[in-house]
Subunit: 345 residues, 2 copies
Amino acid sequence: MVQIPNTPAPTSPSAPRSVPTSADVARLAGVSRATVSYVLNNTGAVRISEPTRRRVQRAAEELGYVPHAAARSLRAGHTRMVLMPAPPVPAGPLYSQFVHDFQGALSRLDYTVVQYGASGLHGDEAARAWAELRPVAVLVPGPGLGPQGVAVLKRAGARAVVTLGTEPVDGAHALLTDHAGVGRGAARHLYARGRRRIGVVVPEEPGLEMFSAPRLDGAREAVHGTGATVSPLPLAYTEESAAGLAARWRDLGLDGVFAYNDEYAMLLMSALQDEGVRVPEDAAVIGADDLMLSRLLRPRLSTVRIALPSARGLAELVDRAVRDPGATPESHELFEATVVQRDST
Amino acid sequence: MVQIPNTPAPTSPSAPRSVPTSADVARLAGVSRATVSYVLNNTGAVRISEPTRRRVQRAAEELGYVPHAAARSLRAGHTRMVLMPAPPVPAGPLYSQFVHDFQGALSRLDYTVVQYGASGLHGDEAARAWAELRPVAVLVPGPGLGPQGVAVLKRAGARAVVTLGTEPVDGAHALLTDHAGVGRGAARHLYARGRRRIGVVVPEEPGLEMFSAPRLDGAREAVHGTGATVSPLPLAYTEESAAGLAARWRDLGLDGVFAYNDEYAMLLMSALQDEGVRVPEDAAVIGADDLMLSRLLRPRLSTVRIALPSARGLAELVDRAVRDPGATPESHELFEATVVQRDST
């Protein structure tokens, strides 16, 4: 069944009917609609005399006429819009910075990034909703999109589909986010520091499983066959939850913990300290992301730094893909995970 | 002069020409284009027999046809799109949460929120770029948009324009963000705690002046005429900058500081402690935002909590404005600032 998401409400009879059109501009300027289009779209294809150009521009200004991106994209077959679905969880500091820098880099290449809000649709169904905006490229952060969704987007004119995730998707370029590698690095570090009973924080907040599950798997993999153990530690991002975990700490018999990221590490470390559990002596703690706060905590927090490639490099990848939509999909590692040892491990 | 931002590149000769259209669907299903449109847009206006409906849907699925939002908005005059320009700085934790909740609430009312990336354009020029997408409503976080930009958006069919800022804009609904009130609350609290020489952190990061300037003004206003002083303290979000300020602390002769927000407060407090300046004895420190970290720091950080109205309430305001585009613009206070005293003041 074809589902039609986000169908607009039918035009209400009270809809304003005074939106000026290019025909109004043409009438006021005394030129053809084609001339209006040539002038206002700055196409170099046709020479327009300077007085005519000025007349059209004055008329457009007087009427408050703004070209319709929709109409233009209908003519051109596509827009300069790079669509990014908004992530299903509030953006964290790393992702906010990434989106900000990436937007800046793409805007210097004359694209506009549009973040499309969560619509309650998932995977290939969501792809139909995105396709309706006829983006020239789509960058999908997170899982769910399959080969069918990629095909829907391409048939709707998207010249490039790029996914961020742990696995490539058929037909799309892939930026691989190796969350398992983050967990592997953290657990290896704890093991190297002599820890043998390792806890791994698994946030209880919905939407984070796509990151926490592979991080846990990576930690397990790192100590596989060594005799060391890895135990998942469910933790909500509240002081109560952290205090509860800290109160049980001695019974758990753990000597090290990979705390999912720096923010959960700060939460847990504070609760452990309140409980009299010494960091790192009784519990070595390592976070991830290398946020500023990891350097400000006492003891200073060890962390897994996740270096992203330059926003400019990623923007150029998108631009290359748009220019050559038939090219074989590229696959790139997005994360470079390195352990930064400080005083908490 | 009318500037036409973001003109799409002319169609390249290699543009895919195989994007299926509703005409293709009509041909395959053996029905008229109007019938395809009735079926796929779910308009209840016309009764279509179930076998025909199924034939159209099968044909659309087979061809991979997705309706074009642009074409639909050309017919309907508007979309269900609420456009929010992306802020000029990476989103902080409060704003990320706000956008996330607001998107959810609007999506339950059948709108889609689209965050429009910074285009390098400002104010009324930027409004023209936004207008090209023909959003049904626009929510502008931050200053720059003037009455002219509001008019451009409305002429392009936006039924509601809502600004977030310190002052209302003619023709737009206003959500007033009283940053001065945040500074006022912080300085009043420091004064009440006996502090008379108050520093106010002014972040050096570009794009934050729109928040930091009114916060500083509010702090000055709060102690005006009391004999207490307020001194601006430029600070970059780096350990080096904070260490420099901490090293000069005793020479500055200050006894209290409003640290702009909780993150700058954490940065400064850590540097003061490293320098042997006691918090709160030698320097009372207050932040703003009431982030989780304010409760996790030792001493626990006093802060100005900024309560936002419910996302649902704001979404309903937008919906009301869309339904009644002729209504007199409403003005609402967005912030409710209250001081939370903990151990750092």
